[in-house]
Symmetry: C2
Subunit: 303 residues, 2 copies
DNA sequence: TTGAAAGCGATACCAT
DNA sequence: ATGGTATCGCTTTCAA
């Protein structure tokens, strides 16, 4: 085609506001430039950052994302999946709130590629998650670099693999006799655990918490006991849940799981799969990042 | 068509797993059974419940929802809107984090209907919001019914219309000399305000807070002053942000804005508009609900 | 280089 | 009751 013709056509197209109909082109190309994100995470704690990453990675390529919240309801999940398949989505990303549970719907025989992110997938699927052991290492080495010697780990139920992985990484670095306390993922458990520890006479000077809510409870509990954070005790959280971490007193140093990046990669992967690329199945664990705020003290805090 | 033919066809259709292609039928019917939800609310505090309502109302009708997070970026917003229009969405719901600001994108001349929910729309648009004055009335009458006489209102910046409307409803019921303190929407402002009030000798026995974060700060501040909640002072929040309200000590009695219902209605409305129904433009304010937990005490708390 | 025609999958309408 | 055909908007292919 001639250069001038090309520009002329483009000009006219712009003039009359021509807008190619994606439905029509999808009909022919057998691609809808649409993917689905299925989630059972009601609070959006994990889904939103993940979704932001997916969307950010795909919007340039003209791909839009259906968000389907299924609330652990298998029937609802089916309805959403059917609706998405009808609409010829190019792929589906399944996400949840914990990596050791699957969504209440079987996605293994769909005519479109499925990628799992922060939720369990069937064998031979591609599953993204953050590297819990790595996150725990970041936290513990940070505490140790600050000179903390007596470390403790206060975390969620031992029914969560994430809790177990963080705990075993903690023990590996902090010593196998360092206390690990399993409870709930709540503030009140954090407070309770601190009271127990202090009552028992065991008084760690560095505490690694399984999530930010627990960490917040720990910090509150310590304050109520008159123990200074970060003066006497350093506290590290996990999740970097802004709303909790930034509002605690002092603001929480915490491990960020880089969910947005996880979302980016999951998005690109599901597209690649849709374009016929063959990719290695299995777990893909992404590194975490330590976000330093004020709850640990030390040089790292002086900036 | 004959009854037997009908069943025979249906059987065969099920057998071969026939699945009508929504792209093809959309091409002809000029409906995609797809709508877009545009939001600049990063935390999802407002968007997620709203989205849940939209989705719940529309999934039965076979409509799926594109979620587009635009982060206050006009260029990104345009890209998302273009992508949705290309995909022939049947309508768009614009949502945000405050009702007195518009999204950074002009949605007024789109070829599809637009409904605004929890964000400002242009004149003559349909805009859903919760009724702030009503919410404030619920809170104040609850406090008064419990016998609280000296009320105060601690809330966010007076640049927010929502804050002003709640404040003026508060004054109307509690008396024009009842103190109203404007600050930030944060816990630390809640604590600070309490310290100020107590230092000044002004000691209300009922406090209505502009949101749950402030309320949580207020409760913490009171505890640190040795003032019992709900024994000496009753506290009501606003938002029913589960994660804040349920974790505070005591759990927070708070006003729920019924965002899910708001989402339901916005979803049904945008569909109706798409089907050519003529609807009255203007604000549509939905009533709030009071959610009683433990921060007010009294009979209402005995159940 | 340009123009015409076939076809994607479903539907609506018209003949049989 | 059935079969055939035009159509939606675009892409691809083939002819001119």
């Amino acid at each position: 085609m001639g250069e001038e013709t090309r520009t002329r056509i483009k000009r006219i197209a712009a003039e009359i506001g021509f807008r190619p109909n994606a439905l029509a082109r999808g009909l022919l190309s057998r691609r809808s430039f649409t993917i689905g994100l299925l989630t059972n995470d009601t609070y959006g704690r994990f889904t939103l950052p993940l979704m932001a990453g997916v969307s950010e990675a795909l919007v340039d390529r003209g791909v839009s994302v259906f968000l389907c919240a299924i609330e652990d309801d298998p029937a609802l999940a089916r309805v959403h999946v059917e609706a998405m398949l009808d609409k010829q989505v190019d792929g589906i990303i399944a996400t949840g709130k914990r990596t050791d549970r699957a969504l209440p719907v079987d996605l293994s025989d769909l005519p479109v590629p499925v990628v799992y992110a922060f939720t369990a997938g069937p064998p031979n699927s591609i599953t993204y998650a953050s590297d819990d052991a790595h996150g725990a290492e970041l936290a513990v080495t940070h505490l140790m670099a600050l000179g903390r010697k007596r470390l403790a780990h206060i975390t969620g139920p031992d029914a969560f693999i994430a809790a177990l992985e963080r705990a075993s990484a903690f023990r590996r670095l902090a010593g196998s006799d360092a206390p690990v306390l399993h409870g709930q993922w709540t503030e009140s458990w954090g407070r309770e655990a601190i009271l127990d520890l202090w009552k028992s006479g065991e008084r760690p000077d560095g505490i690694f918490c399984g999530n930010d809510m627990i960490a917040r409870g720990v910090i509150d509990g310590l304050r109520e006991l008159g123990v200074s954070v970060p003066g006497e005790v350093s506290v590290v959280g996990f999740d970097n849940w802004e709303i909790v971490a930034a509002q605690s007193r002092p603001p929480l140093t915490t491990v960020d799981m880089n969910l947005k990046e996880l979302g980016r990669q999951a998005g690109l992967t599901v597209l690649a799969l849709g374009e016929g690329e063959k990719l290695e199945p299995g777990w893909r664990k992404l590194p975490c990042t330590l976000l330093v705020r004020g709850s640990c003290g030390g040089a790292a805090n002086d900036r």
